[in-house]
Amino acid sequence: MTITDGKDELEAQFTLWREHVRRRPELVESDTDELEDHLRDSVDGLISKGLAADEAFLIAVKRMGGLDELSREFAREHSERLWKQLMFTGEAGDPVRRGRSRRDVIVMLVCAFGAAVSVKIPELFGRGFNEDSLFYSVNLALFALPWLAGFLVWRRRPGAGPGGALAALFGLGAVVANAYPLDADSQSARLMATHLPIALWLVVGLAYVSDDLRSARRRMDFIRFTGEWFVYLVLMALGGGVLIAFLYGIFDAIGVDSDSVIGTWVVPCGFVAATVVAGWLVEVKQGVIENIAPVLTRIFTPLFTVALLAFLITIGWNGRGIEIDRQTLVMFDLLLAVVLGLLLYSLSARDPQAPRGPFDVLQLALVVSALMIDALVLYTMAGRIAEYGTTPNNVAALGENIVLLVNLAWSVWLLLRFVRRRGTFPAIERWQTAYLPVYALWFWTVVLLLPPLFSFR
């Protein structure tokens, strides 16, 4: 072995060691540099005492002590690092990654700015934010979500096919939202305002999975993305609320009325920009902060189970029927959606290899009680439709109910098999991810077909 060989080998070992150390969240780049310098010094010292390079390396690493212990000591001094803040500047990894994250920030800012500008453009054509509330209620998502999808497409670079499909779908959404002759008070207008954003969100999902359309893992990632995005959006809305309160207060103090500026500029521009920023946050912090949606799921699954069981027991005790009108039906639809959300987010955070535990049984109880409640609701609903006939609203609500019911019913079956050790966990996950297109299909049906079918009532 020549001396140069020994040197190369040593360098290779240092590279390995660096990679190993870099995985520690407690140690930042400059700590690694400092420790490496130290290690090189001790290796040099040992070599000068006559040891071979590889021996010297082994002994020097051993002297430095276990990485676990070392990072524990560092963590004690730098506890803030365990909170893993998002770092916008400095120290973030190698130059390639840093360059990429900087480009991400720039594209995100461009998209957020674009969204904020686009929401003000209709005003140039006489569609004021306060005067034309119908226009904004059906179109709001169209000012925000295409920009978010654009950001995701920029990150994924899926090629022309999916890109064109995305553009076509957003175009289709824009056409139906504005070409249909909707009356501000009609049920169709309300359906459009509530269903188009969800339909478009599923198009954002298409952008999210655009680099690998068939992968179940990518779709599950999109489900996670949705939850985290929503949490971030709510957090930003809270912060925005504080900002607006202060804006109003401080300008009020100098006798300037800021109402119209807040109402027509800050709120709409801030909201559409926040949707893009939230998407960016979820993308860059993947794995940086613990996901919050699964944590919320763990807290609320038992609580919802108790609430639903209490509701069922009360019905059984009093023999009360559910009084159905449109509001309650929507509420029970939302309840099913929440139960599905609880199921999805505990699935998304679950280790597929983990054995079944009491939490799985709890989940089964939650879904079963939701299904029983829904059966009661559907029974009452059928009577109502037979009596009063169909309207756009109850068709849409009924459709959603059935879509969710089918999903949950099959989920119960799979969960039951899993808890009784007859089935595997990935089967549940596959069912949920394979079901995503069904939601897209139904929501687009509501948006595209229901208004003309009911002659825009």
């Binding site: 540099d33 400092e34 420790l35 310098d37 130290h38 001790s42 002590g65 560092f74 001094e77 730098h78």
Partner: protein, 125 residues
């Protein structure tokens, strides 16, 4: 067998020793550890896990400041330098240690004199 100083005592004396070494002139981690080894004849058991976090803490407190320097013919290194505030802290630590040492010297006039004042009772542990 090598006589080792206990962990608690090492931890307690860490700050004054590091500040003292840096008061002699700026230095870097490996050299500081070497110096400590030399000073104590290898009896002070310092680890990297003790030294570097301590240096970072002293830097946060403003007792030392650091900078990456390139000395010609050597690697890029992070050098630590004691600050004015660090010197004041060193003086204060020194005063406290002197108090401790004086007290100890009074109760232990010399090691040779230490003998049990009474014979311990057998089997009373």
């Amino acid at each position: 067998m090598l006589l080792r100083v206990t962990k608690d005592l090492v931890a307690a004396s860490a700050t004054p020793i590091v500040l003292g070494i840096l008061a002699e002139g700026e230095s870097y981690g490996y050299a500081i550890l070497r110096r400590i080894g030399d000073l104590s004849g290898g009896e002070l058991d310092w680890t990297e896990g003790l030294l570097y976090p301590l240096l970072h803490r002293l830097e946060r407190l403003g007792h030392v400041e650091s900078s990456w320097q390139v000395v010609p013919g050597e690697r890029r290194r992070k050098y630590y330098r004691i600050t004015r505030q660090g010197l004041a802290e060193l003086a204060e630590q020194r005063r406290q240690w002197q108090t401790v040492v004086e007290a100890l010297q009074q109760v232990w006039p010399s090691i040779a004199d230490i003998r049990p004042l009474f014979t311990p009772l057998e089997g009373n542990a």
